[in-house]
């Protein structure tokens, strides 16, 4: 497929004359996903798992069929290893509370990286404080990467849980998940992988990665807002206590006691976001139609061009691994001496949408000795013209400020 055809599938890109470079925050939605959600409400809307009538049975089918589709998509061994949540954040909280709280003891260690999003950091602060365990960090080197030495120094015999983002949302660094999982397992720890920034761009195979848990949000991969996924190995999920209590996650409820439903319902209390689930199913169809090979080909080309063009701007600080093979999706930068928010506002006035701020990674920003960056994040529907617009708008911004920069 050529890029012009792909872009025609995205109404927002057609309706707004912008260079949308905030895909790390959320992606735009193709018409196929929008239509699937519309069709659900027009033809199948009922509360799944509740009614004996045909419509409710059909709503249950579209909901459960999507679970099967996701299981195949990430190569889970069993469909009930897929749990729906509202986003990666909720999935991470579920792991922290249901697994972390029950399995961590005093002086045990939880190891995460300094580049984790607050959602894979703040829950661990809370759980380690309550259980008396210790939260340790793996730090990045001058290439903005985790070295093998750092991984092996921080994951110890005391480590019980390792939390790691597959791709950093602030730096775009691809972490060596296989290495981390292998080493952590050797030390007796389980590993949870935050795939929020990787699954939009690359094939995820949970069995190949051998991840114990893996989480992602739908909205960063073409699906509607408000739908997320938790994958967990069946034997772990089975042993865990439920996270949220309520309807549909129970077996028998007595006045004082309750027995819980088996997987996956045990972790899906209350009426679920079915439009989000069917929308996510449609998003997966769209990604598979283009194919990860093609997505990677487009993005590698685009990112190479963006790296080249931005590297030419001497007034920029880039926070970027020099190893192209370890880089995906996002480029963080600052105009030297100018605050990221000012840059983002002026880029916005030129029709270029980038994120500015700490990207929910305050400890990383502090580690880098900065308080914010601008972040351009790409998806397969972006073009070299988008990169050119970014560069042109950056030049204009720099020219506005350069007389005043100290």
């Amino acid at each position: 497929m050529n890029i012009e055809e792909i872009r025609k599938d995205f109404p927002l890109l057609e309706n707004r004359n912008i260079a949308y470079l905030d895909n790390g925050a959320t992606t735009q939605k193709p018409i196929q996903v929008i239509n699937t959600v519309k069709e659900f409400y027009e033809k199948y809307n009922a509360n799944p798992h509740r009614g004996a009538y045909t419509l409710s049975v059909e709503a249950t089918e579209v909901y459960e069929n999507t679970r099967t589709k996701i299981a195949k998509f990430i190569n889970a061994k069993h469909r009930e290893e897929i749990i729906f949540s509202k986003n990666a954040t909720e999935s991470l909280n579920l792991i922290a509370y249901s697994y972390g709280m029950d399995n961590l003891k005093k002086d045990d260690e939880v190891v995460i990286s300094i580049m984790e999003h607050h959602s894979n950091l703040v829950p661990w602060q809370k759980v380690t404080k309550i259980t008396g365990s210790i939260l340790n960090y793996m730090y990045i080197n001058n290439d903005y990467e985790l070295s093998d030495e750092e991984i092996e120094a921080k994951i110890t015999d005391k480590t019980k849980i390792v939390g790691i983002s597959h791709v950093s949302n602030a730096l775009g660094t691809i972490n060596n998940i296989k290495k981390i999982v292998k080493y952590a397992h050797k030390k007796g720890a389980i590993v949870l992988v935050d795939a929020s920034q990787s699954i939009p761009h690359m094939k995820i195979d949970v069995q190949e990665l051998d991840a114990d848990f893996l989480v992602f949000s739908g909205h960063k991969m073409l699906a509607p807002l408000g739908i997320g996924v938790l994958y967990g190995k069946k034997e772990l999920l089975n042993k865990m206590t439920p996270f949220l209590m309520g309807g549909d996650m129970i077996e028998y409820v007595y006045e004082q006691d309750t027995t819980f439903a088996p997987l996956p319902n045990k972790f899906e209390a209350g009426t679920q976001n079915v439009e989000g689930v069917v929308g996510l199913g449609s998003a997966i169809d769209y990604i598979e139609k283009i194919g990860y090979d093609e997505i990677q080909r487009i993005e590698e080309d685009l990112l190479k061009y963006a790296r080249e063009q931005l590297s030419k701007l001497e007034y920029l600080d880039l926070y970027l691994t020099p190893n192209e093979d370890n880089h995906s999706g996002v480029i963080s930068f600052n105009i030297k001496g100018v605050h990221a928010h000012d840059v983002a506002s002026i880029l916005d006035s030129q029709g270029v949408c980038v994120r500015s701020g700490n990207h929910c990674t305050q400890p990383l920003m502090r580690f880098l000795g900065i308080d914010s960056t601008c972040r351009a994040s790409f998806y397969f529907y972006n073009t070299k013209e988008d990169v050119d617009r970014l560069v042109e708008a950056l030049n204009k911004t720099y020219n506005m400020f350069k007389a005043y920069i100290k």
Binding site: H341, D342, S345, D348, N358, S372, M400, F401, K406
Partner: protein, 151 residues
Amino acid sequence: MEDLTDIYNELIMEHSMNSYNKKKLENVTCSEIGHNPNCGDEITLELKLNGDTIEDMAFSGHGCAISQASTSIMIDTLKGKTIGEAKQIINTFIDMIKRETKNEEELEKLEDAIAFRNVSNMPSRVKCALLAWHTLEDMIIKHDNSTCRGD
């Protein structure tokens, strides 16, 4: 697309990048930190009173051009004013940014701070423009309650 040169004008650029109000005072009456956690803007305001009159103010810290310039220009505007006058001007500034006043007579009292008028068209930057003003508002409340702290 909006042209932002009316906001990022010479006055605001000069105040944000090279402010003469960015310094330390001695014998301050009150000192207070203001911050916007979402964007990392952080300022420390120092206030030196002579009776009821603002004798001097200064700031330190870091943040975007709008937050830094707004702080510096606020200091210029309010130096020499009484606490009562300052309260009124702070309210006028906040009302202007929130588009709750168009009273030109009141707005004139803002002096150079009227340069931030168009920030009201940039909802994502309102917090930056208001940071110093809200911080000073808090300091005045603490001063009125005799709970403010100096150095």
